[in-house]
Point group: C2
Chain length 347, copies 2
Amino acid sequence: MTTIKDVAARAGVSPSTVSRVVSNHPRISEKTKRQVRLAMEELGYHPNVLARSLAKKSAEAIGVLIPSTTEEFFLNPFFPELLRGISEVTKREGYDILLTTSGSGREDQQSLERMIHGKRVDGVLLLSSRMHDPLMQVLKEHPFPVTLVGRPEIDLPITWVNNDNIDAGYQATRHLIGLGHQRIGFLGGDEALLVTRDRLHGYHLALDEAGIPTDRRLMFSSSFMEQGGYMGMMRLLALPDRPTAVVASDDLLAFGAMRAAGELGYRIPEDIAVVGFNNVKLCEMSNPSLTSVDVHIYELGKKAALLLIDQVRNTGEGAHAVTHELVRTQLVIRHSCGGGKTLSYAP
Amino acid sequence: MTTIKDVAARAGVSPSTVSRVVSNHPRISEKTKRQVRLAMEELGYHPNVLARSLAKKSAEAIGVLIPSTTEEFFLNPFFPELLRGISEVTKREGYDILLTTSGSGREDQQSLERMIHGKRVDGVLLLSSRMHDPLMQVLKEHPFPVTLVGRPEIDLPITWVNNDNIDAGYQATRHLIGLGHQRIGFLGGDEALLVTRDRLHGYHLALDEAGIPTDRRLMFSSSFMEQGGYMGMMRLLALPDRPTAVVASDDLLAFGAMRAAGELGYRIPEDIAVVGFNNVKLCEMSNPSLTSVDVHIYELGKKAALLLIDQVRNTGEGAHAVTHELVRTQLVIRHSCGGGKTLSYAP
DNA sequence: TTGTACGCGTTATCAG
DNA sequence: CTGATAACGCGTACAA
């Protein structure tokens, strides 16, 4: 292991000079700069990041905390796409990513505290936000650079990036209503997730606006995504007055729903229309292709990382203002809802 | 920021004693243990991981190096599934994951060197292996705990975990031949990837064994996965003597191929059979469901992480033996090749 | 422009 | 069982 001292000795200068060369200090003579660089070459020197971080009190890394529903989370294409956005900016800004998963709510808390106090990261990116999230408590107690992907349940002074999920739910439902549907089902993901609740909220808004009464039997939630969508659709189709359209609050749910409908011999969109959320790659590949609300996951990831790094860099300064950003949302119309054509409403 | 000294003062002991309590040193009186624990509570103390790592010369973290084809890599369901396996064991073993992406081959090298010498991680997991990989050079020069997911092109003394991809390719092709196919196409991913080459190799073996002549026109490679599969299939179907079956070396390629066939009005499996690799979740959901070689990605990730951590822990000791492990492979027969078992769940 | 000396927060060694 | 003291490798006032 070659250290800064070895280089110093080799170059005939002091360790501090080497340090300055490494960090591109301005006032250093070209000559010694060359000498030091040469010595570094010859010795194959690489600075010890740990020691540097300890001295500078900055880790040059951000933490990404994957929520306790780890397994489901990994399975959803949402995750890699978000991570892609995040890594795009961390790479550009010179930060590393520390990935932490946890099995339970308690572990979530511990992981977060370890990250915050362990000084291994300069800030943390929180993925997903749920009701009564114990993490929020931790954040309340310890001010620390954090960005939430989603929104906090209660008004908390923390930075977050989110979609306007209420509006997204509204738009999707509105689309179906516009196509003439009156009985519209709602397939939700984990009910504790705020995304689910917000999209459901939007669904209700659209229904109310159109004067369509809501029917509890038309709503079904499950945290098992594809499977949940499958089961939910089965249930909806079993109703005596089955829906002619379904809003699935996640593309995976929608795929499960489509699978169920297909197996029962219902045609999409002729017999039942489906709309999803997230607009994952698969939407265009499925048959029929899935109409979905694009929430721009990649953008979401980039924004979140950027906002976090901003905080990290301006910490301590006056600018302690928290920021909230809403990433726009966009309905992408494909074939799963049919066009303005004739729809068969036969039950 | 409360340090070990603060706790020491509060508890009326020396810093070293606190350190011992933290690390559960055996010979410490119950009494002082309680005092120290109390002080830690009251002060909300959390050890500084950086300082600890610096002193202990071990980072309690492993690096995961995502290859230069970052974007494609994130898009493939292979990635999150592998990561899930990795994180499963790192969590259990108390290691954190440092994710590093890079844009180019050069950056790959630098990232690796930074990780190795920067001491921020104790070992590195290399995902994917390609021809003439510059990373191998780095590994040759610096002995360091590394595990490769895949296999090195040349015989290098490094630990790796892989599938028997040659056999996998052989099995898939053999399956098609068994169903009576004689003209079988091959859709490959990035040609520089050893996976691609190995699976192609297996394809050739099966063909040779059956006495079927190979035809260059039946092989098409592209690193753009779904799109590549689409284009490749288009090309294959345009041939005067088109294939009746296709081996696609990745499920995504297979989906693209199926989409192309569908758009042109070919039925699967009646008109053309398709088999893929990886057995991603989507295989069962697609229509028709995709016959695919399960390579047990999750297992692959777990094994890789485990082997790496083993190395990390036994480094310096005599046991410097590198290990190679082959994760078994298994053809999962569904509907995209026909012939197989008749499944009845149609309405 | 460069060197000295000290601090960053812990752990390990060696006394006691 | 516990307490000094010296690393760990690097950054940075302060002085020269």
